[in-house]
Symmetry: C2
Subunit: 370 residues, 2 copies
């Protein structure tokens, strides 16, 4: 009777869809890789998301298929569509979140601002790109990278000689001199309705997001407008459905360049659970079901999210200490086994004074990182 | 590693504990009566909550046992405690939510304001009480009543002759001439920390709560103070842990009298999911785990909750229509098969103008009631 959403992948993004699904009274089913995943509570199937039969069997029981990650192969996605199943985002859009070379080519074609880039098929081609770009560039594997993996800063083409063995071209990009990283998150429904949260600042350490400030300080006006326009153009031209995160560089010469795309709820939108009227997880569910999107007004002038990386996991003692010290902090944990540097949770704080909000979020998170 | 909360009963109150448990990273386990209950997602055991072995087996795996309802028999509760298990609220407190005669006696002993009452063991005793109370009173079965069941307004003692057959005394109460019904919800932790939400107005129809206005209009000052004082005295003197709801009559001569007690999250606190910084469901989990309680500040001047009773259940079409018409409405459904008059969900709205907030909540709920 109630709509059924099927999520492929059982990670923390699928997990964070559980609360809004329970509240709205939607049925959420998760195809998880294994037992004990963060979204285990909603897991109804287990198996390999690359296996067509596994995915088809799962998809046949739901009203719409969506994703915790972008790794489902194109041929599997296209079979689902061929079977008449609703898939959001669809394969034509997901392609550009799966393959960074295709993404760069498409955004360039659309005239959207991206770093200088080239597809390089050999050490020699990379050496040429390096020479043309001041002797330093960023090399990315087109597929499968995340959290800094599959990305290297290179000043000698031989440094990524090992990456060329597969015979696949790599993406070489200008080393962008940026002031900070921003992220524009939005949701788009199959009907074309689009709803944006304010552009945020995403603070990275060693390629991993550690902190998000919403909205990005000083972004009101031009920066917010450009970020919104670029992300909207991407969503519309690529036919994205569900949540889209557009990671942006704010360069030292005041340009915004598109860095990466994610077509699913994104770490830079976690603050919205507590800081926005509609969270990115609820909005994603509403979007993929083609329901009207919710208001994205912020609850307070500032929201700050700090990731909890590694640590020893949440215990009653740590909860008690963190909540006693920071009563206004919102704690989120993903049910993941802690490992050094692994994202196991996050903390959100809100308020009027940014310094204070940042301080409180870091202070609360620190109780779980020892 | 993370704390495990065990909830006895799989109804909507247990269901609404799932989102905060998932967010905080707590493990929630539910002992449900049957499959397909509102809290089915978190159900790990099925069985009869009156059966000691069933309950003991469930309770042994969790850090604290708490409840979706007050119906677990005293002997079962006391066995759990005897086994060294943490039970919140404990049997000594729950007794007064289970038995209205004991509750009336205890509150009278504490000097708290209650309607005139008597324990009546026969039609003759009830006739005496009636005669002393203007020929009209309310008769209640001491145990098992809810939503108007087990309550009759009587002007002739013979009207409840059928209720005396069990040989158990009944509770006879003064027919209170009240202006409206209020509810004071709070949470208390085993350490004694208490946190209150504002007193709310609870609008009943045929004994069933249909609408809640938070805070109760015109309650600031004396009414709020008295409600808070009475509820705090009850929580402390009865040793309540977890959420306590104290239902109150505001009489036409401006007194507040205690009507009923509930020692669990309560319909009159559902507004707090959307309208308060900390919802009653999160607070209940924090309280029973003896974690510091969260702030209960309201997000907007007014929150209004309207129950969805009966109807034909939520469908994609109804969600779409309701959300299009009332974008700011927060919809909540419990996964229950709709039956006439059954509480299957609720809607919450918030804002600055009470009339508008009430209108919007009713308008959104109406989409599901046809």
């Amino acid at each position: 009777m109630c709509p059924i959403v099927g999520v492929i992948g059982g990670g923390q993004l699928a997990r964070m869809m559980i609360p809004p699904a329970v509240e709205l009274g939607l049925e959420l089913r998760v195809l998880a890789e294994a037992e004990g995943s963060p979204a285990a509570l909603a897991a109804t199937s287990f198996g390999d998301y690359r296996d067509l039969e596994t995915v088809l069997a799962f998809a046949r029981g739901v009203d719409v298929v969506t994703f915790d990650h972008e790794h489902v192969p194109q041929h599997v996605l296209r079979e689902l569509v061929a079977h008449g199943l609703a898939v959001h985002p669809g394969p034509d859009a997901l392609l550009f979140a799966q393959d960074k070379l295709l993404m760069r080519a498409r955004l360039s074609e659309l005239g959207l601002p991206v770093p200088d880039w080239a597809s390089v098929a050999s050490v020699a081609e990379l050496a040429t790109f390096l020479a043309a770009n001041g002797g330093r560039c960023v090399v990315k594997t087109p597929r499968g990278g995340y959290d800094g993996k599959g990305v290297r800063v290179v000043s000698n083409a031989a440094e990524v000689a090992d990456w060329f063995v597969a015979g696949e071209p790599l993406l070489a990009e200008e080393f962008v001199d940026f002031r900070r990283e921003l992220s524009q998150v939005l949701a788009r429904s199959p009907s074309g309705e689009i709803s944006l949260w304010p552009v945020v600042e995403s603070v990275q350490r060693a390629g991993v997001c550690v902190e998000v400030i919403a909205p990005a300080p000083g972004s009101a006006g031009r920066i917010a407008d450009v970020a919104a326009d670029v992300a909207t153009a991407i969503a519309e031209n690529l036919g994205v459905t569900g949540v889209l995160a557009v990671e942006l560089f704010e360069t030292t010469d005041d340009r915004l360049l598109v860095n990466e795309l994610a077509m699913r709820p994104h770490n830079s939108g976690h603050w919205s659970i507590d800081g926005s009227f509609t969270s990115q997880f609820e909005q994603h569910l509403r979007a993929v079901l083609d329901l009207p999107l919710g208001p994205t007004a912020t609850r307070d002038p500032w929201s700050v999210m700090v990731n909890v990386l590694g640590g020893t996991g949440p215990t009653a003692e740590r909860y008690a200490a963190a909540l006693r010290d920071q009563p206004g902090a919102r704690l989120h944990f993903y049910g993941k086994e802690p490992r050094p540097g692994r994202k196991v949770g996050h903390v959100t704080t809100r308020g009027d004074d940014l310094d204070d909000v940042v301080f409180r979020a870091r202070a609360a998170a620190a109780f779980f990182e020892a």
